[in-house]
Amino acid sequence: MNSIWTIARKELSDSLRNRWLMAISLVFATLALGIAWFGAAASGQVGYASTPATIASLASLGIFLIPLIALLLAYDAIVGEEEGGTLLLLLTYPLSRSQLLLGKFLGHGLTLALATVIGFGVAGVAIAVLVENVAIASLAAAMLRFIGSTVLLGWGFIALAYVISVRVSEKPIAAGLALAIWFFFVLIFDLMLLGTLVASEGQFSAELLPWLLMLNPTDIYRLLNIVAFGDTAQLSGVLSLGADLPIGAAGLWIGLVLWFAIPLAGALLLFRNRRI
């Protein structure tokens, strides 16, 4: 446990030193406040529209930003140490490979969680203080849900980045694959799903289709933050399939947890079997 924390501690102090933590927090706070105040600008007015609309907009932007940040934070976790020449040395210390990877996860995971809590937390407090007549209780619940699911989504992509990082032997390849993963889940997946829907002309099993959304953590994340308001009208595109998912919020939370637990377990397994 001690050595896991030693590794995590270095990652945390690295992200303080290179200003990553501060930069991500700032981006999140700016994003949240910008959307809160100008989210309704399209309909011709400036000002806080409503909590559900704000959260829905935040979640839609979040799926672009959070996976990208998580992948950038974590893609070089192992391959970076290897290229830097420190991996071999680290492994000669009383430190197992699993401990090394878990320490990295703790460090990167805490960095992302801290930035999310600080960035969106500040925005939430600002909304509560500055907007008149906002229902504090529902705002707090929505913000907590949003922050919690954002952290889980980020952890999922950190774990996916590790799967790459323990497999490849060159940093540029890891970076390329990380971008490919981002591209796939954020842009391609929904298009493919839509294409399947249209091409199958309703032949596809209606019970099975909504479950396909569970194959994409970013879809689970959006569903989670929109469905919670009981307002399925906000669901657009393929997400409207989610209204037919028979699992409810708890199932979606479990889905997000699995989406970081399974890739992390996979990365651990791959790393343990890797030749040094």
Partner: protein
């Protein structure tokens, strides 16, 4: 308890044998030189002892335990070849990090940095370090927590002569304290005075192992005598011809001196004859050096081997 004990160890990499039936031990307070051409299996040996890999055959015991066990690796210091560190951290920060990983006290960090001569640079980021400074930081890292087994791969690369002498002095001190030390180096004349035993690897097999005297006996290489004639070279040559009945000496004239290669077992007889004849003004005796022994065991195909990679 041996520092390590390799017993009939073989290791294959993708079915290519890297090590074949290696038997090698190191006792506390002993300095072992591990030599071989590139790709001979030195690094693989070290990785097996560090527990980074497990052998396909044979057993590796280290400090009385299994290679790679945390209780064992805690007492091993290792300096890899071409050691690298986190460029954005200072020497002190890096050593603190590794000390925490090793469960060693942080108080020794400034002392170790002073000891390797980085006292003034310990708070500079390591990206500003020269090769020699990185090497010294690597040494300090290997010395964390008073290791019982110290393995150094090319420790003198990038060190100036003074720092090299300091290093060997330090190693002697550690050896007196009971640390077992493995030195891998290509600078054979440099390490020769400091090692207790040498092990020579070629193509994954242990060609020879023992102290220098034993290796010399095993190699049975001629000893070279340099002789200054008291009167004339021809008189001296006569003495040698008469003394050497069957040993097949090689005699070369060399600007007024004679160089005579003599088999070790004939050496004393020849010396007695020379002393008795009164034809010798001065004599010096050259034992085969570690380098000569190394070349002998590696064989004349050595250059081809040295082109290998690893």
């Amino acid at each position: 308890m041996s520092c390590f004990d390799l017993d009939n160890v073989s290791y294959r990499y993708d079915k290519n044998p890297v090590l074949r039936g290696i038997d090698l031990t190191l006792e506390p307070g002993e300095i072992l030189g591990l030599f071989g051409h590139n790709g001979a299996g030195k690094t693989t040996c070290i990785k097996l002892i560090l527990g980074l890999m497990t052998p396909n055959q044979g057993s590796v015991s280290v400090l009385g335990g299994h290679a790679g066990d945390p209780q064992v690796t805690q007492h091993i210091g290792y300096l890899p070849e071409n050691v690298m560190f986190y460029p954005q951290l200072t020497g002190r920060e890096i050593l603190n990090h590794f000390a925490r990983l090793k469960g060693a006290s942080l108080q020794q960090v400034p002392k170790l940095l002073e000891q390797v001569g980085l006292g003034d640079e310990m708070d500079a980021r390591t990206k500003t370090y020269s090769k020699g400074m990185r090497q010294r930081l690597g040494l300090a890292q290997a010395l964390l927590g008073k290791p019982k087994l110290l393995m150094l791969d090319e420790p003198t690369v990038g060190l100036d002569p003074v720092a090299t002498a300091d290093l060997y002095r330090l190693l002697r001190k550690l050896r007196e304290g009971g640390t077992g030390i493995v030195l891998c180096s290509h600078v054979l004349p440099g390490v020769e005075p400091y090692i207790d035993r040498a092990a020579i690897l070629t193509d994954g097999a242990l060609k020879a192992a023992g102290d220098l005297a034993a290796l010399r006996r095993q190699a049975n290489m001629p000893v070279t005598l340099s002789l200054d004639p008291a009167n004339s070279i021809s008189a001296l040559e006569d003495v040698i011809d008469r003394a050497s009945s069957s040993s097949g000496l090689i005699i070369k004239s060399d600007s007024g001196r004679l160089r005579v290669d003599v088999q070790p077992r004939d050496k004393m007889a020849l010396l007695h004859a020379l002393m008795a004849s009164g034809e010798v003004a001065d004599v010096s005796i050259h034992q085969p050096s570690l380098e000569d022994i190394y070349v002998h065991f590696i064989g004349s195909g050595g250059l081809a081997h040295r082109g290998g990679s690893q």
